[in-house]
Amino acid sequence: MTSPTAPDRDFVAELLAACAERDRMALRRLFETEGPTLIALARRIVRRADVAEEVVQDAFVQIWRRASSFDPARGSGRGWVYAVVRNRALSHLRDERHVPVDDIELQSYADAQTDVDDAFARLSAESALRRCLARLDAKPRASVLLAHVAGLSHGEIAERLGAPLGTVKTWIRRSLIALKECMT
């Protein structure tokens, strides 16, 4: 396997290429290096530790099966892997939404705001994303963060922020345009 220290190489992309060639050690290496962050990412969305591990488990099986469809021309290996886990977590959330939540889940759902604040606070000072998010007004910024970090829908964000649905949609669209301009 190649060294992760070379900064200009996409180490995760190389692991994915090896996974496509059925190299289990490459998948294990990916699990060891990215697993802990991916579990944390899933947990912010699904809100439960056991479910977050199930999400990551399913995602790694998908990564193994679909590694050959990763196209380095369309983004980094890490971006692709994180998207697989995020999508898995989001579809779990969608599937589960019709199920009545218990008190513990309601409490953990309330914790989402803490996670969102935490995610922003933990962005490094050099992060362009941090600098550009900081330039947004508070509620539009919160909308983007609640969507990305906690996986909330437009409607849920509206409810959470006490704003009309249309307003939230506009906030997010304008925030996306501002972020894109700021980050290019």
Binding site: F31, S68, A83, R86, D118, S124, H148, M183
Partner: protein, 239 residues
């Protein structure tokens, strides 16, 4: 908003996960056949990635890897042949037989269809091809047979159903030399047998790579493959 902004906003909303399941499904399909949308989504994932990285790592349960491993299948048919020399990363990507996306492929009934197509191709092509390539889809089902003659003209026989979106065409490529990259050998407006005119290239060699991608109707604007790879395979001389 400009069309460009619309595309970027839609891609951003998709990357944020804001679409309802049925809309998200439609957009997932769009990722496969709209390179501009796919690229825009990719850029959003990179822009937002710092937030993912900022999650405080959680130690996995001791048995999580074992749980994953028991679900893995090794499906050797999807594994490409390993190359003796270690090629550069870009070359490895090009060479990786499994690096494709199947788009709108109906199930190909593999061996029977293959035999029939080969037979048909032979009958109306009295010349002997220098090489023949059976191009496979992402799930390793045969998608097309390409026969290449000494003058680099070719006969292409699709053997799988492909839905070609309006305004798109199939473009056939080969890789005579990994250093110079893929070269187009012809464009097909529909998924029917076609003869491709001779192109000025060195005579095809064994193990030369051929592939078919989905491109704009007038062909790739860049001269290189830009759309999803439908079928891909190595050529061999007939025995």
């Amino acid at each position: 908003m400009s069309a460009r902004e619309d595309l970027d906003v839609e891609a951003g909303e998709y990357a944020l996960g804001l679409f309802a399941p049925e809309e998200a499904d439609a957009l997932e399909r769009r990722l496969l056949d709209d390179p501009a949308f796919a690229a825009a989504v990719g850029r959003w994932r990179e822009r937002l990635h710092d937030l993912d990285r900022a999650a405080e790592p959680v130690e996995p349960s001791p048995d999580l890897w074992r749980r994953i491993e028991t679900q893995l299948d090794d499906a050797p048919s999807r594994a490409p042949a390993r190359h003796a020399a270690a090629p550069g990363f870009a070359a490895r990507i090009w060479n990786s037989l499994t690096l494709w996306r199947g788009v709108g492929l109906a199930g190909a009934t593999a061996s029977v269809a293959l035999a029939v197509a080969l037979g048909a191709a032979r009958m109306d092509a009295p010349r002997t091809p220098v090489v023949i390539a059976v191009l496979l889809s992402a799930d390793s089902t045969p998608g097309a047979v390409v026969e290449v003659f000494a003058d680099n003209s070719a006969h292409v026989a699709p053997i799988a159903d492909v839905q070609i979106p309006s305004g798109r065409a199939l473009q056939v490529w080969t890789l005579p030399d990994p250093q110079t990259g893929p070269v187009s050998i012809g464009l097909m407006q529909d998924n029917r047998q076609a003869r491709l005119q001779p192109v000025r290239l060195p005579a095809p060699k064994p193990r030369q790579l051929y592939e078919i991608t989905l491109e704009p109707a007038t062909g790739s604007p860049t001269g290189r493959p830009t759309g999803p790879i439908l079928f891909k395979g190595y050529a061999e001389p007939p025995r």
